[in-house]
Symmetry: C2
């Protein structure tokens, strides 16, 4: 197993931010400054973004400052500073050509993200193994990822029993609903009521598929990219309910 | 116009609770102890309950202690210590007979609650007029009511422009959807994903009907009466976003 190596460290506004590598994977860990063992939330970034995208840093900030938790994000395969394979380049080119032609987003994104999830899963598992060796990461563990973060997170949560609560959303059911049926941990699920890419019925179908007895849907008016910022605050409160020891 | 007369006053745990009458109507006002002008949330209680039901007192407590707001509840016609009319007795008898026979709850409850809403509306408007004369009630004004509290609240909010944000839920669309189409203020709407009385599609239809550009659906797993308690906390946060001056 590859070991986790910290490459940078900054401390600002009550948050310790450390970049790290684990094998070929790059990532970032946000922790409170006191090094006491904390619960940790794995943050899955969106497609085309990277582990230090403002949405990730903003969620990490809320988790550290409001909840006293730690947060970690890793770059998905082909994302951030990680090289793309030929297959990545082909899929991305097809995605953009399809978008330019006004085609439906779903089929290509679902197919490509399913491939990325297969590659990302062992990376997340290795990261989690290494994190739980650190004295400042005590657990329990949550997962928070929308869009591609859900495409990777649903299969991850289905196989990783150390993750005990998850926030998902903004994805199609096609490639994920069967896997979601195996998930029983508490779930919060975000959808956009006027999503121009994911039909209302598709979003409801994926939420419905989770076998969790405790699950909450948050549907907001607005288009795909208009998820209100207060949903991050709600997600942190959800994790506070489920990860506080 | 009838004037508001306080009949009792208790102060405990940082909350001033005063019962009042306004004409034939009885109610209760919860305020912070410092008498500074506050936003106020009108609490509409559920069918068969009363204005001091623990659910009302619990929401008032969160509003006062977590948000520094005031809260007010009045007994609906025929509820709490208010006398029932012959029509009330008939409808309630029919509701219980229907329930005992295993009939659908919706049709009778919708019809009876529409009648109660007509009678309650002028009472709420008079209460609001009187409250806004008090130095400790500054506004803005919110409305929070589920079940019958939604059946009364939707027509109230549709005609009362001083109410600027509302939390509704747990009701059928039949008698309310047309009225909801005239409502444009921010809305939070609660439904139960496994509601045995209100079909999923019916709840979604009522949420969809609101013309509000800013609206959020919270759907939780569980049956009609299993709304999680954390939804009250979420509702208070919703009012903090919209009523804080």
């Amino acid at each position: 197993m590859n070991s986790l190596t910290f490459t940078t460290q900054t401390v600002a506004d009550g948050i310790v931010e450390r970049e790290f590598t684990i094998g070929d994977v790059t990532g970032v860990l946000w922790t409170p400054p006191d090094n006491a063992p904390t619960p940790v939330v794995l943050l899955g970034h969106g497609g085309g973004n990277h582990c230090k995208h403002p949405a990730m840093a903003g969620r990490a900030r809320l988790l550290v400052l409001d909840a006293g938790f730690s947060a970690v994000a890793i770059n998905a395969p082909g994302h951030g500073d990680r090289p793309r394979t030929e297959h990545d380049e082909q899929e991305i080119a097809e995605m953009f050509a399809n978008r330019a032609a006004g085609g439906a987003e779903g089929p290509i994104v679902e197919r490509y993200n399913a491939n990325l999830a297969e590659r990302a899963l062992p990376e997340w598992l290795a990261t989690l193994d290494a994190l739980l060796e650190l004295p400042e990461i005590g657990g329990p563990v949550g997962y928070f990822g929308l869009n591609m973060g859900t495409a990777i997170g649903v299969p991850l949560v289905a196989v990783e029993p150390r993750i005990v609560a998850a926030v998902f959303g903004l994805f199609w059911p096609g490639s994920l609903a069967e896997t979601a049926k195996r998930i029983t941990i508490p779930i919060e699920f975000a959808m956009q009521w006027d999503d121009e890419h994911i039909a209302r019925e598709q979003a409801l179908e994926l939420f419905d598929a989770f076998a969790s007895t405790e699950k909450t849907l948050h549907a907001n008016s607005g288009k795909h990219k208009e998820l209100p910022r207060f949903e991050s605050v709600d997600a942190v409160r959800f994790f506070q309910r489920h990860l506080t020891v």
